[in-house]
């Protein structure tokens, strides 16, 4: 079974201020971007990140073939229950996301 990372150039995540995490998915082409975008509905993202589905903002940047996903941090950066000061490892959940067989 293929993972999302096998189909893209790279996926990275980072803080966008202390209250928000932002993930950038660098797709290989426009067609691939559209197909990947189709997989990333609110339910899927909510399941991965345990954040309410209407909290995700999804942007499509066609010139760069990038999908950007921003969402509020469950634990504010650096607060007692936070585990990732820079928000940099959140990307791994999307990197490892398993793709449907026919994808």
């Amino acid at each position: 079974m293929a993972n999302l990372r096998d189909k893209v150039f790279k996926i990275r995540s980072k803080n966008a201020g202390p209250f928000t995490v932002t993930v950038d998915i660098f797709c290989r082409n426009q067609n691939s971007l559209k197909r990947i975008l189709g997989l990333l509905d609110g339910d899927t993202l909510s399941h991965l990140y345990n954040v309410k589905k209407d909290s995700f903002e999804i942007f499509e940047i066609p010139d760069l073939n990038v999908i950007k996903i921003s969402f509020p941090r469950t634990h504010i950066q650096g607060s007692r229950l936070d585990r990732d000061m820079h928000g940099a490892q959140f990307a791994e959940l999307l990197n490892e996301m398993e793709l449907p067989d026919n994808f």
Partner: protein, 452 residues
């Protein structure tokens, strides 16, 4: 045309000295660099400390002071000392004065301070001048009064005021990443859509090029466009590397909020002028009717003591989750008898390194590691109590058995004492904008002789 030399994304993170020299040879109008960010967490604002070492900061600043001297142009640093508090500005001034001790010239240092008092912020809350930004936590007068550090992020107006007062070296407190770069172009009549966009793209130095580590970039601001090129001959700016920078640490790839308005880059054009220089046009600036600045604040949310235990025994590694659960329950139950407190006010967190220490409950994978580490984090209302509890749990981390039927195990501690006092746990508690009648209202600007 206004030419801005940006030596790197932040003072303290190195830049190529050769690239800086190349930049100077091109006759820039100003050198602008950023000095901070919240990206490394709330500790820095809580304590007014710098993330980067004093020696490294001073070493790099010395080069920039010399570059300023050579070109005889202003040098600006925003968000001095990581968090940009008034103390951080003083720290940077002291470093600067030390470096300038042997200079004969009369140089003028401009400082812009942006720390806020609790009284100022409480009064803004009471008069409805604090506006909630996205994902902001709830605030109250009590929370504001608990803050140990609060700053406002200045824009260009405050830096322009110091430039207008003929400061040679401007040491600014907390500022937006772009402000120190956009200040002079805007002052010189460059349209705001061009000025802010060029500043955003270059705020991390050569991160918008193919060789981020080289640091230096040069931005030329024109009436209808700006051009950006890296100053390391091996690096290239391409339409892709430049436009991709709008994504970086920005929740919305098309919009950038700044004091007084926002930049909209939805309809911008990026064209290669050469194989290493890019021309950008089309950025739009939309002013807000009311000027406001973002504010940041942190408070103390407890005191922490930590320890690290290493476990290699295969039986215990296999049953590590059961072990941690039993240990946690046992220790939490002991808190009342030993210290007269409970698990609601004293938190015992055990993070299993090798299992889900990074992602916590989001982790979905599992496998059998060779060894695991237990990072114990004790958070209590006082440091003394956190230390006491950490000492109390130490023998159990060393010897706690999985069941009554087995012999006492003994695990490994990598150092003595096993406990490390971490000090206060700081927490970001503001994500608000403060409305101002005058951009200079809360900022303290001074210009003085360096050797005075």
């Amino acid at each position: 045309m206004i030419r801005v030399l940006v030596p790197s994304g932040v003072l303290g993170l190195e830049f190529s000295k050769e690239a800086l020299q190349r930049g100077l040879a091109n006759n820039p109008d100003i050198i602008a660099i950023d000095g901070g960010s919240t990206d490394s967490g709330p500790y820095y604002l809580g304590t007014a400390n710098s993330k980067y070492s004093r020696a490294v900061t001073s070493g790099e600043w010395k080069y920039l002071l010399a570059a300023r001297e050579t070109a005889d142009i202003p040098l600006v640093i925003g968000s001095s000392g990581t968090c940009g508090t008034d103390q951080s500005v003083d720290w940077m001034v002291e470093i600067t004065k030390n470096l300038l001790r042997t200079t004969k010239k009369d140089l003028r240092i401009g400082t812009i301070k942006s720390s806020l008092t609790r009284q100022q912020v409480v009064s803004a809350l009471q008069t409805g001048r604090l506006k909630t930004l996205k994902h902001a936590p709830d605030i109250s007068e009590e929370i504001i009064n608990d803050c140990t550090g609060m700053v406002a992020l200045m824009g260009v107006e405050q830096i322009q005021e110091a430039l207008a007062r003929n400061a040679d070296i401007i040491i600014a407190g907390r500022a937006t990443d772009t402000a120190s770069i956009a200040a002079l172009p805007l002052m010189s009549g460059i349209p705001p859509g061009i000025a802010w966009h060029g500043a955003k793209v270059s705020e991390c130095g050569a991160l918008c090029s193919t060789n981020p580590l080289s640091g230096c970039v040069q931005v030329d601001f024109h009436e209808d466009y700006f051009e950006i090129e890296p100053l390391d001959p091996m690096a290239q700016c391409t339409p892709h590397t430049v436009s991709a920078h709008m994504l970086y640490e920005n929740s919305d790839p098309f919009i950038l909020y700044e004091p007084g308005g926002y930049l909209d880059v939805k309809n911008t054009t990026y064209e290669a002028v050469s194989d290493r220089k890019v021309r950008v046009s089309g950025g739009k600036w939309i002013p807000f009717p009311q000027y406001s600045v973002k504010i940041e604040g942190v408070r103390i949310a407890g005191y922490q003591t930590t320890s690290l235990t290493m476990i290699r025994n295969a039986h215990y590694v296999r049953n590590i989750h059961t072990w941690v659960e039993k240990l946690k329950q046992f220790l939490e139950n002991s808190l009342d008898e030993k210290f007269g407190v409970d698990a609601d006010t004293c938190h015992l967190d055990f993070r299993i390194i090798g299992s889900e220490a990074t992602l916590g409950s989001l982790e979905y994978r599992s496998s059998q590691p060779v060894e695991v580490g237990i990072l114990s984090i004790i958070t209590a209302e006082t440091q003394e109590l956190a230390n006491e509890i950490a000492k109390h749990i130490n023998p159990y981390l060393l010897h706690f058995p999985l069941s009554d039927k087995e012999e006492l195990p003994t695990f490994s501690f990598p150092y003595s004492p096993a406990e490390t006092e971490r000090g206060p746990l700081y927490e970001f508690c503001l994500n608000h904008a403060l409305e101002l009648d005058d951009p200079l209202e809360i900022f303290k600007i001074e210009v003085f002789e360096a050797n005075g």
